[in-house]
Symmetry: C2
Subunit: 258 residues, 2 copies
Amino acid sequence: MNTLHVIKIGGNIANDEKKLENFLANFVQLDEPKILVHGGGSSASDLCKKLDIPIQMNNGRRITDKPALDVAVMVYAGLINKNIVAKLQGRSCNALGLSGADLNIIPAKKRTGTEINYGFVGDIEAKSINNYFIRRLLDEQIVPVFPAITHDTQGQLLNTNADTIASTLSIALTKHYNVSLIYCFEEQGVLKNIKDPDSWIPQLKKQNYLDLKSEGVIHEGMIPKLDTAFEALKQDVQQVHIKHAENLLNNTGTELSL
Amino acid sequence: MNTLHVIKIGGNIANDEKKLENFLANFVQLDEPKILVHGGGSSASDLCKKLDIPIQMNNGRRITDKPALDVAVMVYAGLINKNIVAKLQGRSCNALGLSGADLNIIPAKKRTGTEINYGFVGDIEAKSINNYFIRRLLDEQIVPVFPAITHDTQGQLLNTNADTIASTLSIALTKHYNVSLIYCFEEQGVLKNIKDPDSWIPQLKKQNYLDLKSEGVIHEGMIPKLDTAFEALKQDVQQVHIKHAENLLNNTGTELSL
């Protein structure tokens, strides 16, 4: 089977012109087939503030009401996605931006039945991903670029976490490819000490992670990302790395294993 | 050759939930292959106002500076495009939103050498359109949905008039299809008297149009649309109609001929 690279970048890269250019210069050198998934970070919240759209929180969790969803769609699926696609085309990489609604690629279910009503947030499953079109596109040397937007298949767009989209796409494609999933972020890897950027762990086994988590060593903000990453490994994704965006082509960063 | 329908809707439909749903209910009934092109109308200007981005004009022509372009990309390629795609998917129509940058479908040239600097505005030519991917998509029963956004192939997104995109795509595809181009707008057809909505002309020949134009009968705002429409006919588009969006499936409206 061919190796498929699924790369996820966060808003800290997507929203910074210089970091994004540096990242894309490396990304285009990566062997195809490949997929890019991007978050939007704080850019949607920034636009909400400018538009006086209140950012609703409940127990520390963000609520995506209709105005907040519209902003997420504009910023993630519009501004950031189309700029990345244009920049990749400028580097002769045949990119295609795809929200989960386009080609019905990522059907989602609006989150319900939770204590908190999260609003227009979509939960996704690997078995629902529309592999057929993803494979057709990859076979044509097309590079799909996914923002953090899905849909409920009934006409409603939804916001879905970009880390989750990257891991779910990876899991869905393991039947057809050896999938290498790389989460790019602003540190060299998973840190033992959040205050020491050099404390990154080269190899992180699941049990090791669980121990570090229970000891409170792993930074709170990393836990959902790492849980999602280990789930990908459990569901047959071949490799998962967490590394700095500038090291995309280097053999550094944290490699996870079960 | 198969008949290809290229339908253009303006912002008055795209921005009105009810009108859009009515239009899409008809659009999905139209035989495939088909393409939808949408404008955004005043919605980008409305967002500019909310964001205190000054709308720059020069001799009555709008200047698309960087902030105005970002808003156009957010609204046209993001919010409006993805909402239309999601709604079409909700009606079992396999839609795919495509800015001109996606798959390098519509390469454009930034307008230069004019007396006025229009900013990030792209001019397009039928011979540059990437027919290969459009045909591959249509062959897969995919319905492409185009916002008024193109790119310069060097990484820069550009704003291009949606009427022009519709006619240029139509012209580019005449080698492979009998193309029927339909401009949907808020009147029953081209009006002899702008104040009388019933004064629409069922058949409009080019010479007849030129006469009415020189007599000042044709409303100023219709002239660029009609010039673009007659150019499409001249360049082998089989049929061009201008009609009310609600009459998409009816045999009414203005039919143009050379």
